[in-house]
């Protein structure tokens, strides 16, 4: 046993993981620089985003103080509450932009799907870690039910982006728990087999259009293909070094839609080039790597699974968003994490990172 492990430094006592915090702050700073350019040099916009960042850092700090054991105990009740709220949205929710996602609780509007996004990996980790790992097949059925209820309720809102993220966070828990490869492969094959059914029977026409647009955006350059064409032109014309900060013609002349929200990556590609994009990807990789290290060093399987799932969900955001903006994936409403303008996803993500920090700093140093 080594003595210095017994005396946590100041950061650990505050339950802060410095390497992770530095990664997150770098990403946020990068985001502010890009938003300033993408938002048309609007200082007020920048102010609002900074307020959100400070707020979500405070929340992260607060969450980090909570012992993961507490989360484990409360996971299921909160999950059930989330499901009830989702049902509430289903029946009493407000319709906004054609989708029913908001619940009006008098003083504020609230999206139960965000709560589910947070609590779901915790619930899944709680459930799976109750049993010896790798989980037996019969426990997987329970996990499947836990997974399907919120996923379907959210997909029905309809909010495909969020339901994919929720489902992914649960599937990551199962995968990390050591579910047998046979099942993993079976699920993958099953999903592939489902695709034609999805395409022909379940997808709306506009969703099919989005997919077809992906393969041939030039078909309808001023309609369905507009977003993706403009975004690819922005990225492609950035070249190696980019056109320079505030110099992107695509973004500054407003050819690029939603440039400070979902399509902000195109601004990075245009103004900072391949180098800027690579730097961003490196920062992301660093955060993911740190998250997986935290997960591997965790002491209970609950903490391990939870930390792993949070980290990998973060990666899904990145991959889906950049894939969509650079023309690899169909358009799904997922923001670029910690960079896109907007508060909800930042709050959710930072709460997740708060949990990571809590897991890492609440380890008990057992003598071996």
């Amino acid at each position: 046993m080594s003595t210095h492990n017994h005396r946590p430094n100041i950061w650990q006592r505050c339950h802060i993981d410095l390497p992770l915090l530095l990664g997150l702050l770098s990403l946020m700073a990068y985001g502010l620089i890009v938003i300033y350019s993408a938002g048309g040099e609007d200082v007020a916009l920048l102010d609002r985003q900074m307020v959100r960042m400070v707020l979500s850092l405070i929340i992260m700090f607060g969450i980090a103080q909570i012992n993961p054991e507490v989360l484990r105990r409360w996971a299921f009740p909160i999950y059930m509450t989330g499901i009830i709220l989702l049902l509430g949205v289903h029946f009493f929710g407000e319709i906004n932009k054609g989708a029913q996602r908001w619940l009006n609780v008098g003083f504020m509007k609230f999206q139960p799907s965000e709560l589910i996004k947070l609590v779901f990996p915790i619930t899944m980790a709680w459930y799976i870690s109750k049993f010896p790992l790798p989980p037996k097949k019969r426990y997987l059925a329970g996990a499947g039910i836990l997974l399907l209820i919120p996923t379907l309720l959210i997909a029905k809102q309809p909010d495909l982006g969020t339901s994919i993220l929720v489902a992914a966070s649960g599937i990551f828990v199962l995968f990390l728990s050591g579910m047998s490869w046979m099942i993993v492969i079976g699920v993958v094959v099953g999903i592939l087999a489902m695709l034609p059914i999805l395409w022909f029977f379940l997808m709306h026409d506009y969703q099919r259009t989005r997919v077809l647009t992906l393969f041939n955006p030039e078909q309808d350059p001023l309609g369905a293909g507009y977003h993706i064409i403009q975004s690819k032109i922005a990225i492609g014309s950035g070249g190696l070094w980019g056109k320079g900060w505030l110099q992107g013609t695509q973004s500054q002349l407003e050819f690029l839609p939603e440039r400070h929200t979902d399509f902000i990556f195109a601004v990075i590609g245009e103004e900072f080039g391949l180098i800027g994009s690579a730097i961003l990807l490196t920062l992301y990789l660093y955060v993911i790597g740190r998250g997986l290290v935290i997960a591997s060093q965790a002491q209970t399987s609950f903490s391990r699974l939870l930390a792993g799932s949070i980290t990998l969900t973060f990666f899904v955001y990145i991959f889906v968003n950049i894939g969509m903006v650079s023309g690899l994936l169909p358009v799904v409403g997922v923001p670029l994490p910690l960079i896109s303008y907007g508060g909800t996803s930042m709050l959710t993500l930072m709460t997740g990172f708060g949990i990571l920090m809590s897991i890492h700093t609440h380890r008990r140093f057992i003598d071996r």
Partner: protein
């Protein structure tokens, strides 16, 4: 926990190492997927760099859609019923306004804006696309336009837009038939997207919401044009490169007749009720009034929530189209049809006589069904039963026929299903049968139910349009049309055959038509049409109240006049070769022949005796 600690520790180690292996595997996946993104970026930014740079430089051309002008709507004589008027509105691009509430506050000093209007703007901002202009205020006066133009520099992102707006010169006269247009909302957008029509609406603000405006939306709307303009590096338009003009929507001509419609409105005089007039020769609707009505122009410019709630909560329910959605017991107007059924099925013959002592009893049952005439009609045959509207005769006939025979015979007259008229607001009414009652109430059919059906009451309901349509089939001796408003598109002709004719209804014995209509002729000329200079046929009815609200979503409460009867009448003229068929329903006014009869006379007088603009050949 303590006893098997060792085991737990072992499991712990195994679980941890299992997790580590999985974590390393996923990390490897993450790295390869991120590399995939990077490779794709390399492909875009390095390999295709030149290509995209060229396209980016060329990207100075912006395409702006131009809205087509909406087709006009005329009546059968070419009178304009729906036109487009130029108007000015104040619009903003939410994307370009920094602080919207502040801007609106400042704007108040130049353009009068009520607190309610500001609230409305802020409300509609939610769920509004930031790149699409949002209207702040409609119908600016020339003064206001000038006032704003001088101060425009203070309001970046706000501008005065000139455009065309729908205007209905006859205001509330045609509301329920024409419907109205209103701002495209989210639901319209979703519908258009689903139909792959959304692109056509890139520059359009309004869409048909009700009535003919909605039904013929695709005809009236037209195709948008495009303006290709070059923008400078600040996004301002430098010059227009190319433009293709929009293709205006097609004009449509309706079968409606302004004068007859005016007469109908005048006769109803704001009372609750409906008048429908059909030309039996082609099924064209000459007049359709649902009263009370409202001014559709309110909806064109975005009705205030206060005004809308007033309409919505009004006890007389102006928003309902009574002519096609009001479900009324057809009452005695149904007797000629039942007589026809009896004759056709040989349940009765023209000579069959029934003794009417003022009441009727189901054989072996004590209960007495009363005639409207307390002391009875004495001996009646089918002719006098129709002329005098004898209830006893039809109690007996219904009893002998049974409800399923009635339902089977009445279905081809269009009862119990929508007529297919070219507006979407239509109800089916109810043509009761044993199966229907079982499905609807899960109850068996009772004989007593059949008896009230015999005088067009009980479960039987129909819309005024259905009643008029059935009367037209009767007047036509079986020739059937889908009742419709559309006469022609683009030019006012009668040549176009819109294919509205249905297979005719054939009787085994065609002379039965005559027996029934002869009785209706006598009913007309013995009473209201005694001195009419033309021949007519008529049948009145008085229905115990069956509230309009039965199957509608407007749940305002009726509290007044609930106990008075509805007055109904069907009528047509001339008797020999009918040119107009009419159904009138007046809610809660009392006796049918006294109240609805004169209305029918006045309507037929208007149409038959007009000196000019007579549309008949």
């Amino acid at each position: 926990m303590a006893p098997n600690k060792r085991v737990t520790m072992n499991d712990h180690a195994a679980e941890a190492s299992l997790f580590k292996r999985r974590a390393i595997f996923t990390f490897f996946c993450v790295v390869s997927l991120l590399s995939l993104l990077l490779i794709n970026l390399y492909q875009l930014q390095i390999i295709s760099f030149q290509d995209y740079t060229t396209r980016s430089n060329d990207n100075r051309i912006r395409v702006v859609p131009i809205a087509p002008s909406r087709g006009l709507i005329y009546d059968r004589n070419g009178v304009l019923l729906a036109e487009n008027q130029p108007f000015y509105s104040l619009e903003m691009l939410p994307e370009k306004v920094k602080n919207i509430p502040e801007m609106l506050n400042e704007l108040k000093s130049i353009i009068p804006l009520s607190a309610e209007q500001i609230e409305d703007v802020i409300q509609s901002l939610k769920g509004h696309r930031r790149f699409k202009p949002l209207t702040i205020k409609n119908r600016l006066t020339e003064d206001q336009v000038a006032q704003f133009s001088v101060n425009q520099y203070r309001f970046p992102g706000v501008s005065v837009e000139a455009g065309l707006k729908r205007y209905y010169p006859y205001t509330s006269l045609f509301t329920h038939a024409l419907g109205y247009v209103g701002r495209i909302n989210r639901r319209d957008q979703i519908k258009l997207e689903r139909e792959n029509e959304w692109k056509q609406y890139a520059a359009t603000n309004d869409i048909g919401k009700q009535g003919i405006e909605r039904f013929y939306e695709s005809t009236l709307h037209g195709k948008p044009g495009h303006l290709e303009e070059e923008v400078n590096n600040r996004g301002r338009t430098i010059r227009i490169l190319k433009s293709d003009a929009p293709e205006p929507g097609k004009d449509i001509y309706l079968t409606l007749d302004l004068k007859l419609q005016q007469k109908a409105v005048q006769l109803l005089d704001g009372r609750r009720g409906s008048i429908v007039a059909i030309d039996p020769r082609d099924g064209g609707i000459l007049a359709m009034v649902s009263s009370p009505s409202y001014d559709p122009n309110m909806f064109v410019h975005g009705i205030s929530s206060k005004a809308y709630n007033k309409l919505l909560n009004s006890t007389s329910r102006p928003l309902i189209n009574r002519a096609t959605q009001g479900q009324y017991a057809p009452a005695s107007t149904i007797k000629p049809f039942l007589a026809l059924m009896g004759l056709e099925n040989k349940t009765i013959t023209p000579q069959t006589r029934v003794w009417d002592p003022g009441y009727w009893q189901i054989p072996g049952v004590e209960r007495k069904y009363r005639d409207w005439k307390r002391w009875g009609h004495g001996w009646v045959n089918v002719h006098s039963a129709i002329v005098e509207s004898c209830d006893i005769y039809f109690y007996n006939l219904a009893y002998k026929s049974g409800v399923n025979n009635i339902a089977r015979f009445m279905a081809p007259f269009g009862f119990g299903e929508t007529t297919g008229v070219d507006i979407n607001e239509e109800s089916t009414g109810i043509l009761p049968s044993k199966d229907w009652k079982r499905a609807r109430y899960n109850q068996p059919w009772y004989i007593g139910d059949t008896i009230s059906v015999g005088i067009g009451q009980g479960y039987w309901t129909a819309t005024p349009l259905q009643i008029a349509n059935a009367a037209a089939i009767l007047a036509n001796k079986g020739k059937r049309f889908v009742p419709h408003f559309l006469k022609s598109v683009n030019t006012n002709t009668t040549d176009e055959d819109p294919n509205n004719e249905l297979t005719p209804l054939k009787l085994k014995d065609p002379s039965n038509w005559k027996i029934v209509s002869e009785a209706m002729r006598e009913a007309a000329h013995k009473s209201r049409f005694k001195n009419a200079p033309y021949t007519a046929a008529m049948k009145t009815g008085t229905a115990q109240v069956f509230s309009v609200a039965e199957d509608t979503r407007y749940n305002a409460k009726t509290i007044d006049e609930h106990l008075r009867d509805n007055a109904l009448v069907i009528a047509y003229a001339p008797y020999e070769n009918p040119q107009i068929v009419l159904s009138v329903v007046l809610e809660n006014v009392g006796w049918g022949s006294k109240n609805a009869g004169p209305v029918a006379r006045a309507m037929l007088d208007e149409y038959m005796l007009r000196d000019n603009g007579k549309t008949v050949k």
